[in-house]
Structure formats: C-alpha cells, structure tokens
C-alpha cells in the first residue's frame, strides 16, 4: 500500500519536473532563424562547389589544365579541356563541373598543384533540371573579374575546331 502511494506521488512529481523544464524553455528566446528573411553567415570553411582563385597579381586564374582534379575526383564529374597557348603554358578552354554528382570531399582542391581552386560560398543549389547544376568555372571567373573591375580573361580558342558543341545545357554563371 505504501509503495502504491509512493509510486503515484513520485510519478506525479516527476511529471511536474518535466513540465517545469518545458515551461522554462517556453519563455526563453527563440533559437531558430526565419530563413528567407534572416540568413546565417557561412562558416569560413564551408565547402560549396569549387571555383577558380582570382590571383590578384596576374588578374586571372592559375589553372594549368593538368587535369589532376579531374583524375582524383571520385565521381569523375570534372571536365577539363586544356589548350596550349604557347609551348610552355597550357590553359583551360573548358572547365565544367557537374555539381549534382559531387560528394563534397574536397580532394580536387587539395590535389591542385598550383592551388588554383577554392570552395565557393554558394549554398543555394537547388535547380529545376540537371543542367541547372552544371557549373562553368571559367564563366564564374569572368563574372568575378567583372565585379572586381579587372580585365576579363577570354576563353582561349581551341587549335582545332571540329564542330565542338557548346557545354551541355544552360550554364550557371
């Protein structure tokens, strides 16, 4: 009999203790952010898709089209086509990533011998089609240069043009 009442009382007390916790939080300020109106700042290490580092000394990218990134990529989503502009120097004519396949490992950035790649802070990545996720890094760089008021690096022409198609789909700038 005593245990019966004791259990009822301790049980009742434990319920009250739980309710005290929730009411304590009820009057506490809110911790969430109303997303489209308020935004959080991205952490400095955030890994978005990759983009070219804008080298302020030369005013352009450092990519030498060695294709190290394309080779190490686990999902094989980087397409680099290099073109030799002079016997010693090779630059990319096309650098496209198909971001929908990316697993954000960061191996491309680490493998780059000239440190030409960095992560962007782009986080709004939703698109309506597969093509919306294709990122053209050269186009991004050009936009970046325009914003910085620098000379825009033109796309080098390929030596041999054999009916080369445009990058598939619409390319995100």
């Amino acid at each position: 009999m005593v245990t019966y009442f004791k259990e009822i009382l301790t049980g009742f007390y434990s319920l009250l203790a739980g309710m005290a916790v929730t009411i304590k939080y009820f009057v506490k300020p809110i911790v969430t952010v109303q997303y489209p109106r308020q935004k959080l700042s991205m952490s400095p290490a955030y890994r978005g898709h990759t983009e070219f580092v804008l080298d302020l000394e030369t005013g352009t990218h450092r990519c030498i089209a060695c294709e190290m990134c394309a080779r190490i990529c686990p999902s094989q989503l980087i397409t680099v086509e290099g073109v030799k502009i002079d016997p010693k120097k090779k630059v990319p004519r096309k650098y496209v990533i198909e971001y929908q396949y990316c697993s954000l490992c960061g191996l491309c950035v680490e493998s780059c011998p000239t440190k030409a790649l960095k992560f962007s802070e782009e986080y709004r990545l939703a698109g309506f089609s597969r093509e919306d996720c294709v990122v053209d890094l050269l186009a991004r760089l050009q936009a970046q240069q325009q914003r910085a008021g620098l000379a825009v690096t033109p796309r080098p022409e390929a030596r041999r043009e054999e009916g080369e198609a445009k990058p598939e789909g619409e390319v995100k700038g």
Binding site: L15, S103, L104
Partner: protein
C-alpha cells in the same frame, strides 16, 4: 496468406519500409496475434548502394567520401577507421597533433550522434519536445565541425597521414563553451526524460538482452555495454591516442532499454571529458605526415582496423594486391549485428514495445544495407 475455411489466429503486419519509426527504409515483417508479436523478421536491403563494390573500382583516395555515407551520423569514426587501415597498410605515420584533432572531432561527432539518437528515440516514444532540444545542442556541434571540416553531415575530413585543415583558437574556444553548455543541459534532460515516470515505465525491463545473448549475436557498442559487458574498442584494443586520456566505460546492469539509454547519456559525458583533456594536451606540430605519396599504392597484404563508433565496432578489412585500387574492402558495421537480435527480443511484445526496442538498437539503415 490464409486459405479459405481455415481459421486464422495470426495475421501479418508490414512495419515499414515507409513507417515513421523505422528510421529510414527498414521493413519488419510482423506476425501478430492481436497486438502481440509472435514473430518479427527484419527485411533489409532497401538502401543498398554497393559501397564495398565501389571500393574495388576506385583508388584509395577516391573511396574516402564513401566513408561519410555509410553511417552518416558518426561519419568521422568511419573516416578514422578507413584512414587508419590504409595508414597501417602503407606504414604512414600520423603526426601527434593530427591524432589529437581526429580524437576531438570524432568525439564531438559521437556526441552529435548520441544526441540525435536521444531525440529520435523520444520521438519514437511520442515525446516531441526533447527531440528539438537535442537538435538545438547538436546544432552547436555541427557549427563547430563545419568550421574545420567544411560540411555539416557527411564529413570527409581525415586524410591518409593526417588531416587537411588545422583547428583554430575559435574552434577550441567553441568546444570549451559547448562542453560547459552540454553539461548544464544534462540536468534538463534528466528532469524531462530520465526521471519521467512514463519514460521509465516504457523502458524499464523491456527488451532485456542477457550477456550470453550479447556474445551469441556479436553485439557491440552501447547494446553490449548496456548488458554489463565493458567492451569498448577504445579500451580493449586501444587505437590512436585514446590510451592517453582518462575516461570510463559506462555499463548497465539489467540490459534493458533504460540501461542502453543511460549508457549513451553517460557516454556523452565521457566524450566531453575526452575532448576536454585533448584540448588541454593538444601538442603543436604538423598536421600532415611529411611524405604522403600523391598516389597510394600499398604493397600486397591485408589489414584489419576496428574503431568504436557511436553504434559499436566498425571494422575495416582491406586486401591489397599492390595495385592503386584495393582488391577488396570489407566493412564490418555495428548496426547489422545489433539488428540481428531483434527477432529474438521482439517476440511476445506489443507493437509499442517493438518501436521502443527497435529505437533502442539505434540502427542506421544505410549502414546495414551499405
């Protein structure tokens, strides 16, 4: 199922794969008599992605991001297990500082995983609010890990021979602030959950697993510790720099759900202790081994490395034939072993108990399916 004219007493209830409390795509086929379960048969494989096969077609680096996706809740332990196995195979020495960073981040990740478990488990039992408190705490960890690893869930942070990015003072200060914060929150969790009479009634003496059953089914992690066997890879086969820290292995007595819950809660406190000590002892130095080959090409041989994840023992077994691709990688995942006991302990319980038991196993379905 039943033949006409035959009197049937039992029926089949499909529990999942789309059910609120199967945590992913697990299906349990239940043979029921009224609300009592007479037979429970888990049906796995809905989330099979063939990770082990993928490993055979990629080189060692390229398999790295897969490890964050086998068990997405404690991804860093998987990172660690795989990296350590490859390091063992190639004989790479990891600098001390990198080992410490690995321990700190992996333990933070373990707390995040346990917090998510506590929240999701309470959700299974019908309490919604603790779930969001846990997520509030977990969010702090994600912010911290975001600062160093660059992602919030499927981390791919460790590399062969170290870590690619050093931790900064802000991260360390954040860790210390988090330790104080979470220690303060434990009291709230106690009042809200642990001492709650309804929670006690739902978990005490339900889903009891004996020591003998633990051994027979090869259970690991909090499942086996809840039954009173102090088996933790961090202590029994120490790896990394764990032997340098002072921490305990919490164990339960009865082996019921409540004990497994308490083990996880106490483990969080122990992880906090480890992080605190690691932050204090953090040595200076490089974070990456000096000579890491661009292309990992280990000599022929085989290696096994086990680590303790939030769910139990994760083992990575690599067979190399001296190629740049592994010949075979076998992943020993804890959830698979832990789930295997469900048919035995679910018999003669109610559906509500099945939800409680399944939740207490803490399965991560993609990990089972791989």
């Amino acid at each position: 199922m039943h033949e006409p004219g035959q009197e049937e007493k039992t029926y089949v209830l499909n529990f999942g794969p789309q059910h609120p409390s199967t945590h992913g795509v697990l299906r349990v086929e239940l043979q029921m008599e009224g609300e009592f379960i007479t037979k429970a048969a888990p049906d796995i494989g809905y989330g099979h992605r063939g990770h082990e096969h993928m490993a055979e077609n990629r080189n060692y680096q390229q398999f790295l991001p897969n490890m964050g996706r086998v068990d997405y809740l404690h991804a860093l332990a998987y990172n660690q297990g795989y990296c350590m196995a490859v390091e063992k195979l190639t004989g790479l020495e990891v600098p001390e500082r990198a080992e410490f960073i690995r321990v700190i981040t992996a333990e933070l990740n373990r707390i995040a995983s346990h917090l998510l478990w506590v929240g999701a488990y309470l959700l299974d039992l019908g309490a919604f609010t603790p779930f969001l408190y846990c997520f509030d705490d977990r969010e702090n960890i994600l912010d911290l890990l975001d600062r160093v690893t660059g992602s919030r869930l499927t981390y791919c942070y460790y590399r062969f021979g170290g870590v690619p990015k050093d931790i900064d003072d802000e991260f360390m200060a954040g860790c210390r602030a988090f330790i104080t914060r979470l220690r303060g929150r434990f009291k709230d969790y106690d009042d809200l959950v642990t001492k709650n009479i309804i929670f006690i009634k739902r978990t005490r003496d339900i889903g009891v697993i004996s020591k003998e059953q633990c051994v027979r089914y090869g259970l690991t992690g909090p499942m086996v510790r809840g039954s009173g066997i102090p088996y933790d890879i961090r202590k029994s086969e120490p790896y990394s720099v764990y032997p340098r820290f002072d921490f305990e292995i919490p164990i339960g007595e009865r082996g019921d759900i409540m004990d497994r819950y308490l083990v996880r809660i106490r483990e969080m406190a122990q992880s906090l202790r480890i992080i605190e000590q690691a932050l204090d002892k953090l040595p200076d130095g490089p974070i990456m081994a000096e000579k890491v080959p661009k292309r990992i090409k280990p000599a022929a041989g085989e290696v096994y490395q086990a680590v303790e994840t939030a769910r139990g023992e994760f083992g990575c077994y690599i067979v190399s034939e001296g190629d740049i691709k592994p010949y075979r990688i076998k992943l020993r995942v804890p959830s698979f072993g832990n789930l295997s006991i469900l048919p035995e302990i679910a018999v003669d319980t109610l559906v509500a108990d099945l939800v409680a038991i399944l939740g207490s196993i803490d399965v991560v379905v993609p990990e089972i399916d791989r």
